[in-house]
């Protein structure tokens, strides 16, 4: 039934012949080269590939942090390549949540303030914020560390805080760039279990960049493998 529903829904992300080229002196680097890919709503996709294969660039294009040189990136029914910078900012606020390899928490802020940051940017009413922050931190099991600073937390806890921050604006798509890259294998598994729970419970589309194939096969629904900027394969994980 769930699979039937999933197929009936429009895809969360659709990439149509997307390329991203950089010019360095006289040479042109094709970071992403003519990639077409569809990610159905509610799917957990793992983007695999070696270092420099273009997977992080592709993720940045889906996140609206970068613009394709050619092709179209359609997320949640909107063509990102046609959006103004203001519209892209709104898209990043409302439609996607991002998790990074190095957590990227602001060190001088407490957990509560870090998680509240996207709510400030989205101009959510102050009276609503505390409950939303607590709910997000509860979701990752860190509600008791609300007043702590990132430096007082372990790597896994910091990444869970980053996930809470990505979830607090209730996005439809969660983008994770090597979320287990800075963690030991046990903590990495905890984080991926958490992502899997999030995917199932609120029903979220997740695109995760990783180079750990074993973990990706265990937790993701489908795998897309990239090499030299090209999509080499795309299919179910198990």
């Amino acid at each position: 039934m769930a699979t039937q529903l999933m197929t009936e829904l429009p895809p969360a992300i659709r990439l149509e012949s997307v390329s991203r080229r950089y010019t360095m002196g006289e040479s042109v680097i094709r970071a992403v080269n003519d990639v077409s890919l569809t990610v159905p709503s509610g799917e957990f996709l793992a983007l695999l590939g070696s270092s420099g294969s273009g997977k992080s660039t592709l993720l940045n294009l889906i996140a609206g942090l970068d613009r394709p040189s050619s092709g179209a990136v359609i997320a949640n029914g909107q063509d990102l390549s046609k959006m103004s910078s203001l519209e892209l900012a709104r898209y990043r606020r409302q439609t996607v949540g991002m998790v990074f390899q190095s957590f990227n928490l602001l060190p001088r802020m407490t957990l509560e303030e870090n998680v509240e940051l996207p709510l400030r940017l989205a101009e959510v009413d102050r009276s609503e914020r505390a409950a939303r922050v607590r709910e997000a931190l509860q979701r990752v099991g860190l509600e008791k560390r609300i007043g702590h600073r990132p430096s007082e937390l372990s790597g896994g806890e910091q990444q869970r805080t980053a996930i809470a921050r990505a979830l607090v604006n209730r996005p439809k798509i969660l983008l994770a760039d090597e979320p287990t890259g800075n963690l030991d294998s046990t903590t990495g598994e905890v984080i991926l279990t958490l992502l899997r729970e999030i995917q199932n419970n609120p029903g979220m589309t997740i695109v995760m960049v990783t180079h750990e194939r074993t973990l990706a096969e265990r937790f993701a629904d489908s795998l897309a493998v990239m090499g030299d900027g090209k999509l080499l394969s795309n299919g179910a994980a198990r």
């Binding site: 942090l65 970068d66 900012a89 990043r92 990074f100 602001l106 940017l121």
Partner: protein, 447 residues
Amino acid sequence: MKLRDLSDLAFRNLREAVLRNSLTTLGVAVGVASLVAMLSLGVGLQQLATSRLAKSGLFDSIFVTPKTNLRGPGGGPPATRTPDAKARPLDADARAEISRMPNVVEVYPQIRFFTEVRYDGKPYATMVAGMPESSKASGAFDGMQGRFFSSPNADEAILQAEFAKELNLQTSSLIGKDLVLRYAERQSLGAPAGNSTGSSGGFSVVPKEKHFQIIGVVETEPASGFGGFGSGRLLIPLPIAETLRAAQVNDLRDILRDSSSDKPTYSSLTVRVRKPSMVEETEKKLKDLGFGVFSLLDVSKSLLTFFRVLDLLLLIFSSLALAVATLGIINTLVMAILERRREIGVLKALGAADGDVKQLFFVEAGVMGLVGGLLGVGFGWLIGRVLNFATEIYLHRQNLPGVQIFSVSWALVLFAMGFAIIVSLAAGLYPASRAARLDPVQALRYE
């Protein structure tokens, strides 16, 4: 982002590099302090000059003469040289009429006459001047020995210091002593028999004496300057001087003129109006009444122009310090961009628009301007107070009355604050737009 959240983040960022931001803010404060100190000095000097001159009665006074006068007072511009059909005598009726004019606060004649003073059995020739009650506030009597007249009708005299020294080198010992004034009183004669024209019969001059008590000695010459026919070295209350009916220079002219009136005429009247700005309008009305008029209106305008130029120069020079402080703000914010590059990337990844980042840096610059402005106004005010205090001490040691050379008005405070904030925001313009333009992908990669 809402302003409250922006301000919250900006204050947090400023606290993070508290030493650097405090030093930058201090730079703004020094700039604003120099601005406030310089401008308050300009304003203070202007107020000092204008208040002294206003108190002297020079700029709110109009000198009125009958149009038949050959020359204006004190070598002033010539009045009408030929008799005018509209000319009318400057007598008691004219004085009463002028007194009733709007904005006129005081009308008094210039009474000066030669006299012989007898003191300690010796005669001294000198000029007597009648002083109106309002001259007490002119500042000319500040720091005098003794006191001003106890009432407008008191038989009291104030001596000009040079004249007092002729009487006794120890001028302070003169106070309380009596002197005798010998003067020529004008007494009207009846019309000669057979004169059918109704012309005045002229007047006789009768010697008279009057006793006065010396109550003060003044260093300045309150009766000299504009409107004076020469310095009065013995000053008595004007109403007393009027009752003496002492023969004056214009009495001779009255005889020669065909006057049908017995009333004494005045050689000139001084008309004081409420404000210097009312001089021009009143002058016009007096001319329409048929009198010759003269005032220092143009001099007053020139003085005002001088102070405007002085203020402008002080503003330009003091702005240099603020310009240096502006460079400090730019430097601090550019450093902040380098340090917070990754943070800007995170903010953009979380959905901050370019405008949000720009506003954040703007608010930080504005806060530095506001705090620097507040501190600067405080410092500037303090500098003014200290220099006022030092000036007062210096003048006190020179036996001179104290003056306020610095004046910090609310308008100046608001101007300095506004100027500091605007300049700071302008300084934040470049760093803010540079931060807003940062590529989030590059910024997130920055270590």
